[in-house]
């Protein structure tokens, strides 16, 4: 092929990433825990743990169990609140931005008002954040725990409420439910990009005690087992909207990430793999570049949605 170079920069709805590699919310802490594994500044972006206006304690133990080619969690969005994060992690995250890695600040809530409040706080106190991401997979307490973004109507409502409160890029993180419909609703409501998929709800029972292996009846399944399902959903979402998509779900290696891009993802996030293969995201930066070279393109953008099927 000779010595060519490939431009790896992508634009995720206004988040200008030097490469398409990102990390999924809740699987990368606030980044610093990974500095012992690699230079986090190499990544295109990281997404913070979902932060609420007030601190959340999350669910009791046990919060995790293993299932084939996957894990399940019921962490319950435990987080120290927007201000707690700004205080504890703000300096590191501002510095990370300076190192060229975009910080996507994720917010969470149990009601439309809580999302709005979290974004307002973050808008004010996290000037370093390149973008905000709304995790609409939280239970809406006012609606009996139905997902905030489980229907197009509900997702639309929260995006509309938040949109006027910031001029920074606004991403919406979708639950793996009615993806195409919800994606369109979010686009119409003003989202700049979509992230998907969140964990898939699952259940694992200890058949001797007859109890859930988690402290809750259900938990979110993540890891390689959900990858093929996630690629299909990314493909569906990318066909349903014209805003860019950040693809995730079981990405554990270069080929998994490349599949996401071919299916229509502009950026790719590593989630569960960060736990067991903590240098995974860093390897993807080089691996995707090598793949793009092999594919004979001059920019990775030429491979986005390039699946021929």
């Amino acid at each position: 092929m000779g010595a060519r170079s490939v431009s790896m920069a992508v634009d995720l709805g206004g988040v200008r990433m030097k490469n398409p590699v990102c990390t999924a919310s809740g699987t990368f802490g606030f980044g610093s825990a990974f500095e012992g594994f690699f230079d986090v500044g190499r990544l295109g972006a990281i997404t913070t743990k979902g932060c609420s206006a007030e601190p959340w304690q999350g669910n009791p133990a046990p919060r995790m169990c293993e299932v084939p080619s996957a894990m399940m969690n019921t962490v319950g969005l435990a987080n120290p609140g927007v201000c707690g994060v700004v205080e504890g992690q703000g300096a590191y995250l501002a510095d990370l931005e300076g190192r060229g890695c975009r910080v996507i600040f994720q917010v969470a809530g149990h009601s439309v008002e809580e999302y709005a409040a979290a974004v307002e706080l973050a808008e004010e106190h996290a000037p370093w954040a390149s973008a905000f991401e709304l995790n609409v997979s939280c239970p809406n307490l006012a609606r009996g725990g139905a997902l905030v973004g489980g229907t197009p109507e509900d997702a639309s409502e929260v995006v509309r409420a938040v949109r006027p409160r910031t001029s920074r890029p606004l991403l919406v993180k979708l639950a793996p439910v009615r993806v195409a419909e919800v994606a369109r609703a979010c686009e119409d409501a003003g989202a700049d990009a979509l992230s998907l998929i969140n964990t898939i709800s699952g259940m694992s029972l200890d058949v001797h005690t007859r109890r859930s292996r988690l402290s809750r009846p259900t938990g979110g399944v993540s890891g390689p087992a959900i990858h093929a399902i996630a690629v299909r959903m990314v493909w569906e979402a990318a066909h349903a909207v014209s805003i860019p998509v950040n693809g995730m779900g079981g990405v554990a290696g270069v080929e998994d990430a490349a599949e996401m891009i071919l299916a229509g993802a502009t950026a790719v996030s590593v989630g569960t793999a960060n736990f067991y293969d903590p240098t995974c995201a860093s390897r993807l930066v080089d691996g995707l570049a090598a793949w793009a070279l092999e594919q004979g393109v001059t920019t990775i953008n030429d491979l986005i949605g390039a699946a021929e099927c």
């Binding site: 995790m64 293993e66 969690n73 962490v75």
Partner: protein, 263 residues
Amino acid sequence: MPTGQTGLHDVAVASNERVAEKLFRIVLSAPELASGLRAGQFLEVAVPGDASQILRVPLSFSRADAKAGSVEIIYALVGDATRRLSRMVPGDAATVVGPCGNPWRVRPGQLRAALVSGGVGVTPIVACAGMLADAGVPFDAVVGATDASRLWGADELRSLGASEVVLTTDDGSAGLRGVTTDGLRALLAGRAYDEVYACGPEPMMAAVARLAHEAHVGCQVSMERMMSCGFGACGTCNVALASGGYASACKDGTVFDAEEVAW
């Protein structure tokens, strides 16, 4: 990479053998890692072979020899990952994430310690003994197991300097018939201690903590949780605190003052 920061290390198996019923000792050749480990910390070991089990296995270590560049782990055979681990042979390669967690603490001027190990909790307790020996703190120990066939560690603890080692088994097949708290009660009755170090099943540690509290003796415990990462990234290893809320077993522990924990 700053010293002591959690990192990824290539290791090789130096030896791996059965030491008691369903109990194995593995020695890893891991020079970089060995020199940074402190007693009470743990490792996250990727046991190769079965891609359907994606997570690493959290394992404490019993000895880290910086000079030899080796790390020793005592582990129990419980499920698939530990079974695969038990089949690894000298020369086999693996990767380890570590050091994870915080070490046991020796308070300045500490006089005498009691170590309590239940089952495979013996691993970090052996490491603790090494630490106390280095610090010149005298100690005694209780080692408990379900039955004699699974009892292991008394010799190591003695060779590390334990003045007295009380053995307990649930069925009385070796040592006292009873649980480790019976052994600890015996120690507390005999000598004065200013710190108890405990690792074992959670109900055991809760009982040890109660006993230490009643005896006005400090108590440190090493808490186990289902863990996805081992270095503070996932939030799955929460330990309920007496003060309300949760701490991370892997980042804030695994060693906790027993008084901090909401048992």
